[in-house]
Amino acid sequence: MTVEFPALTLILIFPALGVLYNLFLGYRTGRGAVSFVGPAVMFVAFAVASWAFYEIMVMPPGSVLTYSVWGWIEAGNFHTSIGLRIDALSAVMTMIVTGVGALIHLYSVGYMAHDEDFARYFTYLNLFALSMLILVLADNLLLMFVGWEGVGLCSYLLIAFWYTNPQFAYNGRKAFIVNRIGDAGFLLGMFTLIWALSQHGAWSLDFLTLKARASDIASTTLVGTTAATVAALLLFLGATGKSAQIPLYVWLPDAMVGPTPVSALIHAATMVTAGVYMIARLNFLFVLAPAALMVVATIGAVTAFFAATIALVQPDIKKVLAYSTISQLGYMFLGVGSASFAAGIFHVMTHAFFKGLLFLCAGSVIHALEGEQDMNKMGALRTKLPITFWTMLIATLAISAVPPFSGYFSKDLILEAAYESGHTALWILGVITAGLTSFYMFRLIFMTFFGESRVDHEKEHHIHESPPSMAIPLIALAVLSSVGGWVGLPEGLAWGDAFARFLAPVVGDFKPLVVGNPAMLSLVATSLGGIGIIVAYLFYIRLPGLPVILAWRLKGAHQLLLNKWYIDELYNFFVTRPLFWFSNTILNRGVDHYAIDGAVNGAGLTVETTGEAVRRVESGNVQHYAFVYLLGVLGVVAYYIYLVIH
């Protein structure tokens, strides 16, 4: 059932109003007004999104709310419109983006209270949410790309928010450029789809058309394989950029220099989940490209493992969370790569809850310690920051997949899907990662909240719990992190996997290839998680000397992890420097300076000389004007006389 639902535009209009207000009036009307408008527009958007969600819930399964705002591009046969669409998939995403987004906006009011660029901050934040909502609500790939680019731009603006620090500005640029590389893949993917469809007489990027024509795309051959595979791989390249997967994940850890609520927004509600959403949205395309799906699953599992190893040893609290995000995103790609799109999106949702919460808690800790991020200078904060401690513990239990917290259900589904689609090796990698995850997360908890206080002396007595505007979002997210996973219980238990059933009309059912025993699979993963927690306890509470000794003994491995596998250095050596050399020596000094500048200056000189010459005729003398006029007349008349004679 498809229903016209004009109110969908409100979900975009309110954040857009927020952007305009904060941009043009924010500085004039002051902090109070901005701190009201910034979050308020998001809460209104959330209310409208809830209304739409409710409509979807009460309508028969597979129903869609649509609204076509206007026709956008007409170029030859190709046409596309600015159209919005809410089905089960985008309904869930919209709820996450507006709901978690609104909480982060609220939290920001307290966190950024002392920043002088308050209005600019909220302008960007609203724009970020707006872009993500465009991405999610788009009913065609091109409009989705508008949102896709929008979140890229906003991440750049917000990562480099404190732009007076050159390193921060540099990191902002890095995020932008790495994202652009992925975006190029997305664009090429779209071109491939347009080309493949045009071979069959269809000219559109609407998801409906793409779905209806998916088999046509899959039957078109291109570079030795099908157009579906090529397009899927190119689009996935885009996803690796936006969702921080190998090989384009390098921007995300550096993005931690932005204000902490921004990290929360990037990691929880917007941006990084875009890649997963895109693949789930195009599930019909990816299932027809098994090779591409295999790549997605493999990259996902490897990234999950790889990032988790780096997170084991990082001393910076936000860096740990950054790598944990990359790792968790790896899980999501493992899920969608195993053709269990519902599981991937389920993890997007639970991850939004607990990762948003983790970042906000980390922000609360950093806020209390006046900017300290090194966990070696924390410790024993449990009694001083009780709300932060308890909520962060809940989030940690959730990400460590301890039942019955939310992360358990989603991660379990992903690992089960990986096993049952025959990716045994990837399943093993995923299970090991589960152990690593609970280790590094509890390491974070123990180092921050337990043990001896290692806080700098002068900061010690400034420690304070956060204001209510920051505490309320913590508590709300803690509740969601605890119970949010219960919408997807294992089959046979109470209402079963309601989440997957809800999404099934859009993303299809998961069809297992190998039959596994869900209980056994779950037990293995959960036990490994438990072992991770115990090891962390031993290392950081019982035998605090042990990690130091171990790091010294395994110096090579420790250094490798601490330096993040030297990936940045490798990129620098093999990609950045050669590129820079080529750009500077060949393109800049050679082509630009001599060839292009020469040509442009030459052309400019020619035009100016000619212009000056012609200007002489423009003497101001009216007789001259009439004379030139007459020449024109003679020309025209001569032409017609010629025409008559011939």
Binding site: V614, V622, Y625, Y639, Y640
Partner: protein, 497 residues
């Protein structure tokens, strides 16, 4: 039951004209008793009449017929042009209100002449025989000649008026001679009848061809096509700036209305005879206009040459012909009205009597002094340059697209190259505003809400019609189609009382 369609047929279509004509006379009569420094009231009166005419003109959309014994065409084509002209006139009045006070312009003359010229323009847009077109053209021109010279204390203004008048009279001669020759060849001045007569041997009749050529020259002068353009920069520079804006937009729209109806619609069957000449004029106009714009240092002269170049772009589509090109021209002119009037409105805002302010160098550092004004100017210039998603881009795209479809690839290549070259002079103003310092320090002055409103409206038009072109483009296409089928118009006439 009364059949309104029969009653309305004669009066409704000319009601906008009647309103404007009445208002012009009222302003003139009332204005005699009003001091020059308090001419605002007259301006508002003029604006009110324009708005009423605008609403009435909306009613003409979708109608089809002929009134006054075939002298007036009632169709969406007229309506679209009347709307464009009235919008241009309304914006001109808005930007004149303060200007007229500050420059002590005689209000009665100023606003009544403005209305009379609007009347002439609308007459050109609705005319459907050659004599009415000529009357419209003269009504418009005579009023504008005087308007150009209204800054009586400024010798440049008087010079502009004299030059414009001399060359204008010169060119009117050609137009009238052309009309006479065409009458001689076809035996009629009715456009519909001319269209019907253009078959067989008549198409190579020397009288017709020469008449065609001379009319082309006459219209070419009014749209400032090269080589009939020489008056433009001097007149644009000397005239009061709101009048310059009005000439660059209103006169051009009206001239193209006549040009389009006569050449593309009615003389369409003889297109083989004028396509080549038009091709050459179009290429020349674009190239010379842009090349000379590059070397200007005065912003009004620069915009004058830019207006010449834009006439060249429109002539590309006119050369190509066909319904697609027709719709594109109508759309382009509507967008051009907003954009160009906006740019001139910013010039008006920064200009001071007797002081500097119209040199491009005076715009240096404007972005720090008046950020909103600079941003508006930048948007107008970018639209003129043709940057998406502004209306200038969409319009140019439609123009060139139509020409490519008719196979005029060479001309379009010239057009695109020219458009790229135009970046130099448009962006140099943007560069001056945003990246250079110094410039002309204008003293703080009282706020001028009417002028700001004009800029705001122009800005909204420039952005909105560009982002959301569909309805306007569809309306433009339909409007052109409505003038395309004289046979149908004929049929409608037969039914009328």
């Amino acid at each position: 039951m009364i059949n309104f369609s029969q009653i309305n047929l004669v009066w409704l279509p000319v009601l906008p004209l009647v309103v404007i004509a009445t208002a012009a006379m009222v302003v003139l009569l009332v204005g005699v008793r009003v001091d020059d420094e308090e001419s605002d009231g007259l301006g508002w009166l003029a604006l009110a009449s324009i708005v009423i005419a605008l609403v009435l003109a909306l009613g003409i959309f979708g109608q089809s017929g002929i009134a006054f014994a075939g002298a007036i065409a009632i169709d969406s084509f007229s309506a679209f042009f009347e709307l464009s002209i009235l919008i241009a006139a309304a914006l001109t009045v808005l930007m004149s209100l303060d200007y007229a006070d500050e420059h002590r312009l005689p209000g009665a003359e100023y606003y009544s002449l403005l209305l009379f010229s609007v009347l002439g323009m609308m007459l050109m847009a609705t005319a459907s025989d050659l004599i009415v077109i000529f009357i419209g053209l003269e009504t418009m021109s005579l009023a504008v000649y005087v308007l150009a010279g209204l800054l009586r204390r400024d010798p440049r203004s008087s010079e502009a008026a004299i030059k414009y008048f001399l060359l204008g009279a010169f060119s009117t001669g050609f137009l009238l001679y052309g009309i006479a020759l065409i009458y001689g060849a076809t035996g009629t001045i009715k456009l519909v009848a001319i269209h019907a007569a253009l078959t067989g041997p008549l198409l190579s009749n020397p009288l017709l061809l020469l008449g065609l050529g001379l009319m082309l020259i006459g219209f070419g002068f009014k749209v400032a096509a090269v080589p009939f353009h020489m008056w433009t920069p001097d007149v644009y520079e000397g005239a009061p700036t709101p009048i310059t804006a009005f000439m660059a937009v209103g006169v051009k729209i009206a001239a193209f209305a006549g040009f389009l109806r006569v050449f593309m619609v009615q003389l369409g069957p003889a297109s083989a005879a004028w396509t080549d000449v038009m091709w050459a004029i179009s290429a020349l106009t674009m190239t010379v206009g842009n090349m000379l714009a590059i070397v200007q240092s005065n912003i009004k002269r620069m915009l004058a040459y830019s207006a010449i170049a834009h006439a060249g772009y429109i002539l590309v589509a006119l050369t190509a012909g066909g319904p697609q090109a027709g719709g594109a021209i109508l759309y382009y002119l509507l967008g051009y009205a907003f954009t160009n009037l906006g740019a001139f409105a910013v010039v008006v805002a920064l200009e001071r009597r007797g002081a500097a302010g119209d040199q491009i160098a005076d715009y240096r550092g404007l972005a720090t002094r008046q950020p909103l004004m600079a941003a508006a100017m930048a948007i107008f210039l970018l639209s003129l340059l043709g940057i998406p998603p502004l209306v200038g881009f969409v319009g140019k795209f439609y123009l060139f697209n139509a020409a490519v479809h008719r196979g005029f690839v060479g001309l379009v290549v010239i057009g695109v190259l020219n458009s790229a070259a135009s970046a130099y002079y448009y962006l140099s103003v943007v560069v001056a505003m945003y990246m250079q310092e110094g410039g002309f320090l204008e003293e703080t002055r009282r706020s001028r809400p009417a002028l700001v409103a004009a800029i705001a409206i122009a800005l909204i038009g420039t952005v909105l019609i560009g982002i959301y072109p569909e309805p306007y483009f569809t309306a433009a296409g339909n409007a052109y189609q409505s003038a395309m089928s004289p046979e149908e118009v004929h049929a409608a006439t037969a039914m009328a009382p």
